[in-house]
Symmetry: C2
Subunit: 361 residues, 2 copies
DNA sequence: AACATACTTTTTTCAGTGAAGCAAGTTATA
DNA sequence: TATAACTTGCTTCACTGAAAAAAGTATGTT
């Protein structure tokens, strides 16, 4: 990143940003209060507000009660100034959401596609659906940007998909293709990071400087926020805590390594563990001959099946050790646990919390 | 951190910083080149340079060869503008260094104190020696700041020592005491972070945005640099990679946890391993009855003793697994390995590199 | 070799610009 | 009449850009 030099444009940009954010986050608010909160001159605020009003980025929403003088005029951010489209690419589904700037969903759409489709066909499908969604935007407003979440390794800076095992795609310039077509900024990131940004901007992370989001489900991933910014590493692949070594020389992991956290705390491990140990649980109702899905395991556990419960608890134990490492490394005030695996949180959380509490250095 | 509003002071501060840093890092340099490199107006550079010259922060060092026109006047940063004192508190030694702003050491001093001394006595000793060092500063120059490195848990923001096991001190307002006495900024951090900052400012890290320093010795620690800033975590304790769980339910660690990296990759492990396994190495020359120090182990290893070599290699193997986890989490372009353990790098490095290369996801 | 002319490059000067800041004034209310 | 909210007009100051000044080099002529 090149450092910006100080000049009048910089001042302008800074103060406009400050005023917009003050109104967006603390609005409705009066000019006087903005001035006090930001320590900006009152006349400066007046001028900036005037400009933002003509740009329709903000508007006067009405007046508040007087406290002994002229009533303050309340300003509010125009959340419908523009719209954005968010897309999640799943294994055989596209999920679209058209939102305003408050992330209110205006329209939502789920579009299936054939598992294993090639990237060109799916991108074609994405373009068609974006065109369709754009029609729902009011005439005098416009699309401001597109965000895409894909499970895989992403070059965030260039908006390229480097590799996705789930889709079996590699090296696709998603941002370039869509930017050419729609002429708006296009952001691409993996699903965990996208979820982490959501927590940072709209969720529990709003008030935090540093936190880690850990997703627990088919695999284990994490999003890292440091100094209020998502950290992606030098090659875009930070946060792969699923492939931390938890058991030196341990179980083989899909990635090729041995003893990864993900080889112990994941859906696959739970199912494998049940298969390996069903012989020791004569009273278990689990039928090993039918295809065993993770949902069925949850079902069995809910009904008190000890094998299912043990498998979940063991997986949770390893998850706890993984979190312990994360805590020792990042020393964050908060860790957010999420992911499909959390549907069994009644069983998992007590185990995890117990391990973390009793072992933290 | 409160955001600064945009005004003329901000512009001034930014551009003065940019010019100073340009001269400091790329000097000697002419006004014209500064203007080109920073994209700042030539007249602006002239004005700022004039100001910095009267402040004696920079000076004109001479002229460079002409390239067909007027000779450029070269500007250089005045590294002797002021001085700083750096102090490392060891188990029974204080190490002082008086340096100029180029980190050139003007004077260095080693002052022993009684192991187990209380903090007041040692701080008294520190103050006396600082007073002594200040006498070595030229009359017209001054002390600009003090930096202190201690092994332990530090509250960097307040400059307080929270707890040091090595010294058996806790909750000491080091910064407050010295700031009151000398009226200059005082920075306190643990030894690993201090070393990491040295790498960031003067070492291999100068050109890197993200890197991790891993110290391997009596324990394992790490310093984390993200976006050119040292990351300390919300409670000042980030980087404790020594207490990552490497072997679930493994060896007991000094910290109370089980299976920490430090329980496997550390001097203590190496010595314990030798004691536990000497029975299997009949040909080993190691005499288990004498007090076994890590230095002696290195000596034995250098002379080809297989037990010593095996112990070092095994410890290195675990270190490799630890680094693998660090790489998976941070995805940095560079890891810097340092610490006393590296004196045996001929044995350790090949093992570590092999593990990392063959396993990286 | 001495000199004149043309061109280059570096640095300085100075009027102009614009964003913030300040103070006095206006509006609206208790 | 006092007070709070907001507006207007003027001042300030750091950057900008163009022109001028300073200090060279390159080349051709006598």
């Amino acid at each position: 990143m090149r450092l910006r030099i100080g000049n009048k444009d910089l001042i302008k940009d800074i103060n406009r940003s400050l005023v917009i954010n003050e109104i967006r986050l603390n609005g409705p608010i009066s000019r006087t209060d903005i001035s006090k909160n930001l320590n900006l001159g009152l006349s400066t605020v007046t001028n900036i507000v005037e400009e933002l009003k003509t740009q329709k980025l903000i508007f006067e929403i009405g007046e508040a009660d007087s406290t002994g003088g002229r009533k303050p005029i309340l300003l509010e951010f125009n959340y419908n100034y523009g719209y954005t489209i968010g897309i999640k690419i799943e294994e055989n589904n596209l999920i679209f959401a058209l939102t305003n700037l408050n992330a209110d969903i205006i329209r939502r759409k789920k579009v299936p596609f054939k598992r294993g489709s090639n990237s060109n066909d799916v991108l074609e499908l994405i373009i068609k659906n974006i065109e369709d969604l754009i029609k729902a935007i009011p005439m005098d407003r416009s699309l401001l940007g597109i965000g895409i979440a894909i499970s895989g390794l992403i070059d965030q800076k260039r908006g390229r998909l480097i590799y996705s095992g789930m889709l079996n795609w590699s090296d696709i310039d998603i941002s370039g293709i869509l930017k050419d077509r729609f002429n708006v900024p296009v952001y691409v990131d993996n699903d965990v990071n996208a979820y982490t940004l959501a927590e940072l901007w709209y969720g529990q992370g709003r008030t935090l400087s540093n936190f880690i989001v850990v997703t627990y489900g088919s695999g284990i991933g994490s999003g890292i926020v440091i100094n209020k910014r998502l950290y992606c590493g030098d090659f875009g692949g930070a946060g792969e805590i699923g492939h931390m070594v938890l058991v030196a020389d341990g179980r083989k992991c899909e990635c090729g390594q041995k003893g990864c956290l993900e080889a112990y705390a994941s859906e696959n491990f739970i199912i494998d563990y049940i298969k390996e140990n069903i012989q020791f649980f004569k009273e278990s109702k689990i039928n090993i001959d039918e295809e065993l899905s993770i949902e069925k395991v949850y079902e069995y556990a809910k009904n008190g099946d000890m094998l299912a419960i043990n498998a979940l608890k063991l997986s949770a134990k390893y998850l706890g050790y993984g979190l312990l490492s994360v805590i020792n490394i990042f020393n964050p005030s908060t860790i957010i646990l999420a992911g499909e695996g959390m549907v069994a949180k009644d069983i998992i959380l007590p185990v995890v919390i117990d391990i973390v509490k009793n072992n933290f250095f």
